[in-house]
């Protein structure tokens, strides 16, 4: 008879506590994922199936017709051309706002962490204070200001709003990050003859990689998902996708096309999801590298 070596199974410790932990984890995961599941499933069903059937049931004939409709032909307000143009509005709002915001934030952070000037503590304090101003407080003054600049209702107006609102956070993030950047590097560059902006462009900015990723994710998510500023300052044709989504749901006359609504919501949510999936690891790493320390 051959000698058989019996190995104990790896998970031999099936204790009660372990079962309990897994049960709780799975249960909580289910609760969190359930709405997403319902949304995806509903978006693939036909209207009759939705009206007659069970919310949780899988679609019998899954079809992406609702997605196409949401994108290209759903009625939002008076126009029936889907979410496409509003999606593009959001893109043209978020990308410049994030890029300009990072530019300003990194420059401010560089100045506040590496250079002394009279009142520098006050300037930083005021910017910090600005982080805590609620959105709502800003609406009326900002509306007047945009009106003065003839930017009311436009995407550019929204870009301005988000850049200004983001100055506080962006400056804070970069300033804290650059505080850990060795001062001697700036001094060495000075001795080498680099000007203020050359130091920024050639030495500071290339070293800011992790922080740029963190700020980009943070700002992208906040600005893309923003509803309040979008609704207040650009509710017409320049509206971002969040506002358009709201209008879409409220515009259905008669029958509520749940499948189209669900598809629209998923379309609106996808970009931030992709950003997190691709760059989320860097976000955590960036935070851990001392980015958001007091």
């Amino acid at each position: 008879m051959s000698a058989i070596v019996t190995c104990k199974p790896v998970v031999s410790r099936i204790s009660a506590s372990r079962v309990g932990i897994y049960a709780i984890l799975l249960g909580t995961a289910a609760v969190f994922l359930l709405p997403l599941f319902v949304m995806v499933v509903t978006s693939l069903k036909s209207l009759s199936e939705i009206q007659n059937g069970n919310m949780l049931a899988l679609p019998t004939n899954p079809s992406v017709a609702a997605w196409f409709s949401a994108w290209g032909s759903a009625c939002i307000g008076l126009t029936c051309s889907g979410l496409r143009s509003y999606f593009l509005n959001s893109v043209f709002m978020v990308v410049p706002a994030v890029v300009i915001g990072i530019g300003i934030g990194s420059l401010n952070g560089y100045i506040l962490s590496k250079w002394r000037f009279p009142g520098d503590q006050w300037v930083f304090g005021l910017m910090l204070f600005g982080c805590f101003i609620p959105y709502q407080v800003v609406i009326i003054p900002m509306a007047e200001f945009l009106g003065l600049l003839h930017l009311a209702g436009t995407t550019q107006g929204l870009v301005l709003v988000h850049v200004v609102y983001g100055i506080g956070f962006n400056t804070l993030f970069f300033r804290n990050y650059l505080k850990t950047f060795p001062d001697e590097l700036v001094r060495a560059a000075q001795v080498d003859g680099a000007s203020f902006y050359q130091i920024f462009r050639r030495i500071i900015l290339p070293s800011c990689g992790p922080m740029i990723v963190v700020t980009m994710i943070f700002q992208f998510t906040n600005i893309w998902n923003d509803f309040l500023f979008g609704a207040a300052f650009a509710s017409g044709r320049g509206a971002p996708i969040t506002v358009a989504l709201n209008n879409l749901v409220n515009s259905s006359t008669g029958v509520k096309e749940y499948n189209v609504h669900m598809a629209a919501a998923l379309i609106a949510a996808t970009p931030t999801l992709i950003v997190y999936v691709l760059a989320g690891r860097h976000f955590v790493r960036g935070l851990m590298s001392g980015a958001v320390k007091g």
């Binding site: 590097l185 060495a188 030495i203």
Partner: protein
């Protein structure tokens, strides 16, 4: 006219005077070391010379030209920092070339200058690496290369060896000295390590709390310290201090060591300061550990030396030497004797003071007096 002149320099941070009326001169090709404990102002002084900090008062001249108003890049200086300060996102080649690039030097010239510097410092094989892929010693060389390539009038070093381990520190110290011999560039070097100061400098400036305590050659500083601070800061182990009192013996003024076995005394040669001494004056006699000899009655110069017997407290063998510690008059005294000396803890041994090498201090002002000590032979010792 000196190559580097600092005159009447004052620097204040708020209410605090960090540099108080500093005056230093350095000849061309010299190696000036600013040495002192932490917080003495040596790095501030270096930064003012570099132009990274502005002086509040006083004048700075390099090669005869006033540079107070010039930014660092226009003063024709180069600086090596304690943390090397290499640009992390650039290769070694780009790091070294950066200063030239900022000055608008065209690429071919830049490349050849970088190549030359790299060869001098033997880092040619590292040119395409990033700083994170280099060891401490290699980074140090790259930092020196970056400074070397600018052909500066003055080379500034800010504690460049502090971040290296002991062995590497000794190697790099010799490298810097060789570099100085080879290039002949005027150098100003900041350190808190007095061994570095002694080995590298042609001129040492000892600083404490913003004031220069003494400027001189290493020999001057070591053998003729101007005050107690300099005497005890330079030299390891520190200079020994004996309390002593002036007594008149046979018409001569001698210093009687307090607490030493009776009769141990040291004479003083005639001099203006010797004339001012009064009987009963309390002074401090400073003698370095190597000037206390064991069991000999003749010093190097052949003169007899003052000797006495004392009980040994601790013996510390270091390999090449032995430190012997004993107490005299309440003070702990360290003698440096040869490794093979027969000294044992707890036993009574005979030691002698080489008085010719002693320095005498006035305890209240802490200044060294212009007195030359001589050995006094005890009656009982006449051979």
């Amino acid at each position: 006219m000196s190559f580097l002149e600092v005159t009447g320099l004052v620097k204040r941070f708020g209410q605090v005077d960090v540099l108080k009326d500093v005056n230093v001169e350095l000849e061309e090709g010299g190696f000036l070391v600013l040495v002192g404990p932490s917080g003495c102002g040596k790095t501030t002084l270096l930064n003012v010379i570099a132009g990274l900090i502005d002086a509040d008062e006083g004048e700075l001249r390099i090669a005869g030209r006033r540079v107070n108003e010039l930014p660092p890049s226009k003063r024709d200086i180069a600086m090596v920092f304690q943390s090397y300060a290499l640009y992390p996102n650039m290769t070694v080649r780009q790091n070294i070339a950066f200063g030239l690039e900022m000055r608008g030097v065209p690429k071919p010239e830049r490349d050849s200058a970088v190549g030359d510097a790299a060869e001098t410092l033997q880092i040619s094989h590292l040119l395409d690496r990033k700083p994170s892929a280099l060891s401490g010693g290699q980074r140090q060389r790259v930092a020196m290369g970056r400074a070397l390539v600018r052909n500066p009038l003055v080379f500034l070093f800010d504690e460049p060896l502090s971040n290296l381990d002991a062995k590497l520190r000794v190697e790099m110290r010799t490298e810097i000295k060789r570099l100085h011999h080879r290039t002949g560039v005027t150098m100003v070097y900041v350190t808190h390590d007095q061994v570095e100061a002694m080995t590298l400098a042609t001129k040492i400036a000892v600083m404490e709390r913003g004031v220069i305590q003494q400027i001189g050659t290493p020999a001057d500083i070591y053998e003729r310290p101007a005050n107690l601070f300099v005497a005890q800061f330079m030299g390891s182990p520190s200079m020994n201090l004996f309390d002593c009192e002036v007594v008149i013996s046979n018409g001569d003024k001698v210093l009687q060591l307090t607490g030493a076995p009776s009769g141990v005394r040291v004479g003083v040669k005639n001099s203006p300061d010797a004339d001012k001494l009064q009987s009963g004056d309390k002074l401090l006699l400073g003698i370095r550990p190597e000037a206390i000899v064991h069991r000999q009655t003749r010093a190097q110069g052949g003169q007899s030396i003052t000797s006495f017997e004392v009980q040994v407290d601790v013996v510390e063998p270091t390999g090449p030497d032995m430190y012997v510690l004993f107490r005299v008059g309440g003070r702990e005294i360290t003698a440096r004797v040869g490794a093979g000396s027969r000294v044992a803890e707890g036993e009574v041994s005979t030691f002698g003071l080489d008085a010719e090498r002693a320095v005498i201090f006035e305890p209240r002002t802490e200044k060294a007096l212009q007195l030359q000590a001589v050995s006094v032979i005890k009656r009982s010792e006449v051979a």
